[in-house]
Symmetry: C2
Subunit: 500 residues, 2 copies
């Protein structure tokens, strides 16, 4: 089988490049033994249905401590490699979901193992600093080498945070602070501002809003949650803000057959967005910022054209609203460019770009004017984690060294073509195949069929995730190659045949 | 000097116990050399004023990337040891602030260095899982050995989160979900609940509130921030919720001279709290939960008696509100007990206890009924970080092995007695010395004098932090001993003499 052969060659070549150059370590008798294991397996290998008996037992054990309703199975991360996640029952699955799209270059990448074995990094691992007051010596250089080396166009400033929600929460705060400073003509806050904010009153705590889009997902803390509209279960029973929600375009596929309809749909959404901005200003809750994903991920992999985003950026500027592009799921290379917004081809794509997941650290980039005017306005104890910055710097090295953006573009083409073929083959079952790079999705006829497909695929060694009402999203890591796609398509085809 | 001698003996004995047993590592020529360095220095050593020239240069460099208004100086974490933080200019300071109270057992503790050098942990360091869906095999055991081994009374469930703000945000959500489930009689949400929450409307997003206390600090994301009332700069310009704020007792010191007045003050605050609960219910924004710190830390180290907290707990029960004790800063042992609420002597102290900082991972414990009824209600991509759980388990081992709670109680007595003596010596300058364990504070006559004292102390090798309007808070790690207190008192006395 060709894919097996290619996989092995790839593995051996990586071993030679990376492992054999790694300094030996007397600690590492186990790690050294592992160095002889391939960096990627040559296919799935299933021993039980999933979850297997060991996973079931552990789920029961964890159930005494936490809600386990979302647990898929328990993993053996030591034995996982590259694109393959191994579970505690010895099942080895091709992972096209990658921990909700958060593993950038596969499991146990040799470059990361080597990095974390380096004793020079020990101190970083055990002394977590309060980055906002007492950063380590290498912090500015590390930011320059990691996050700033992939900064979006027009942005040379970045604030790290611990996770995606904190990133968006703080980005919203930065937009509110920017907006009120504009309103005050950059003069000092009044005594009334100062005293009223302490008791949650206007004008200190102003009635401002963030405009978001139906179907969007921006996190689950209370500020973020007010802008999240993908599934009711995220929002139910949590108090929120009266903020405007605009429609996100619902494109019809194949795109080339619905050019006119899709353009009309996007125009409709832009018009409604502008209406909402005007309406909320009239209500006394002006829109300080607009937040949007380049591709609505959790909400069902909803795409829009570069024209739509260009139009939206113009509307934001026209009405004095900040423009925040949330790249928590789209960022990091899977669309074939490092940031999905690069596909829009704009010099000035955004005021703020937030990230997390595959970037390993959370945070947001921003234009100069969105830096808080005073200290302690955007602040918390940790403000990120230098350990994650270290890992990110090495991930970026690997992406460059192994040309992973180009590879992802190439793999993405093979993946979407494969999905088009399957869609033609199973017209009653599949529709709306879509994607950018390997960031792809396809719709299933209904939700129960989708669930059945996901479970049957898993039992055959294919780990996939859902999104939206009835989509399957594909979120492989950046080391997902043509031959992985062959394996995927073969198994997926078998599973679809069972649902024909 | 006695303290120097004791310090050296302590260091040598620790080296013998821990370092010399550590397996050698060929990687670790640098680390091995460091093993010969003592685990704690014998006193501060200052080479420049702080920040020194190297810190100034790095601050300038970082200023191109971020707001640096809060940066104190840059650190050399590799050279820092135990209670001593070393900066990039070679200054060595006795650290009684510990990264905003987040370093549990000092810098570069040998046990943690050994742990992070263990190749068996490498996979944990490089493969961050989505804990809510695909946990590692050792996750339930690790929770049992770490967090559950120190669970507050009545709680056997714990949810990890990445930071303190996320912990409180999710704890608030758990209280809202619990409250609405009670209101619905635990039946399923209505169609109207489901559809209205998607567009930020009642009844799906209900008008519920969290009652907090003036002077409290619970974080800076938007839900948390609505309950934070310590400094205006945290809250200014950020939209918020109309939630009730009750007064926190302002005790008069010395406590034994103001028994009657303080009891009256606490009774007044309890009465006002109950009034607010009634008032907000009448306003149609019922109080789902009460959140409080056992000691208001950021707000100025404000204490209240066990009677106050017992009264508050009763009020919460009476009105059907959840009771959330925020131990983000107080938890982890510095008060001499692992949780500050243990000093209240209650079997059923709380419904929810949140933590972060010295626990190294964020999260919250909760009673069974506060577990969300369905999956994905309390959820995010990472839900904590197993690397931090690993570190915490070892920190807890060290706390037990070295009897650090007892040690902290002992050091705390020496510290507060020293502060009492200084207060008697400088009556115009110092007042209201107070504390529990080493979690101590003292008030300075005014804010400018406080700033001057903090800066002069730092230049003499003593790193302290402020809190409230004019307090200095003492937040040493758990390895802060009698002889460190001697060093502190000597230098602090010198600095105070300059301000007499």
């Amino acid at each position: 089988m060709a894919s097996t052969l290619i996989s092995r060659q790839f593995s051996l070549s990586l071993q030679k490049n990376l492992w054999l150059n790694a300094p030996a370590c007397r600690y590492a008798s186990k790690a050294a033994a592992k160095a002889e294991v391939e960096v990627d397996y040559d296919g799935p290998l299933m021993k039980t249905s999933v979850p297997g008996p060991r996973s079931e037992a552990l789920t029961k054990q964890l159930g005494e401590i936490q809600n386990v309703g979302a647990i898929n199975f328990f993993c053996n991360y030591e034995e996982s490699r590259g694109n393959y996640l191994v579970d505690v029952d010895g099942n080895r699955m091709l992972d096209i979901y990658t921990q909700i799209s958060s593993i950038p270059i596969g499991y146990n990448h040799p470059a990361l193992l080597k990095l974390m074995s380096n004793p020079n990094n020990l101190s970083t691992l055990v002394n977590r600093p309060a980055l906002g007051i007492l950063p380590p010596e290498n912090f500015p250089d590390n930011l320059a080498e990691s996050l700033l080396s992939v900064a979006p166009s027009g942005m040379s400033r970045v604030q790290t945070m611990a996770c995606g929600s904190c990133s968006n929460e703080n980005a919203y705060k930065a937009m509110f602070i920017w907006y009120r400073n504009k309103e005050r003509g950059h003069s000092n806050p009044s005594e009334e501002d100062i005293s009223s904010c302490m008791i949650n009153k206007t004008p200190g705590c102003p009635e401002l809003s963030i405009l978001s889009f139906m179907g969007g997902f921006h996190g689950r803390t209370m500020g973020c949650l007010a802008t999240t509209h993908s599934k009711a279960i995220h929002k139910l029973d949590v108090p929120t803000f009266d903020w405007p929600i605009a429609p996100f375009p619902r494109l019809q596929y194949p795109l080339e057959e619905f050019t006119r309809e899709n353009a009309q749909e996007e125009a409709r959404c832009l018009e409604e967005t502008e209406d909402q901005i005007v309406k909320w200003r009239q209500k006394g809750k002006p829109v300080a910022g607009i937040v949007i994903e380049p591709i609505q991920a959790e909400g069902g992999d909803n795409h829009a054209s570069p024209n739509f985003f260009k139009g939206l950026r113009k509307i934001a500027s026209k009405h004095g609203c900040a423009f925040h592009v949330d790249e928590v799921q789209t960022g990091g290379g899977t669309t074939g460019k490092f940031w999905a917004h690069e596909h829009w081809g704009m010099d000035d794509p955004a005021d703020i770009v937030s990230f997390s997941k595959k970037l390993l650290t959370g945070g947001y980039y921003h234009k100069n004017e969105f830096q808080a005017d005073k200290a302690y306005r955007i602040f918390n104890t940790w403000m990120g984690d230098p350990t994650k910055n270290l890992l990110l710097a090495e991930v970026l090295n690997v992406i460059r060294r192994e040309n992973l953006l180009e590879e992802t573009t190439r793999s993405g083409k093979a993946l979407i073509n494969g999905l088009y073929e399957l869609q033609a083959q199973y017209p009653g079952l599949l529709s709306r195949a879509r994607g950018q790079g390997t960031f792809c999705a396809i719709d299933i006829c209904d939700d129960p069929t989708r669930s059945s497909i996901l479970l049957k695929a898993r039992d055959k060694g294919l780990l996939l995730g859902g999104c939206g009402d009835r989509s399957i999203r594909f979120r492989p890591s950046l080391v997902f190659k043509d031959y992985h796609i062959d394996i995927f398509l073969n198994i997926f085809n078998d599973v679809l045949a069972m649902h024909k």
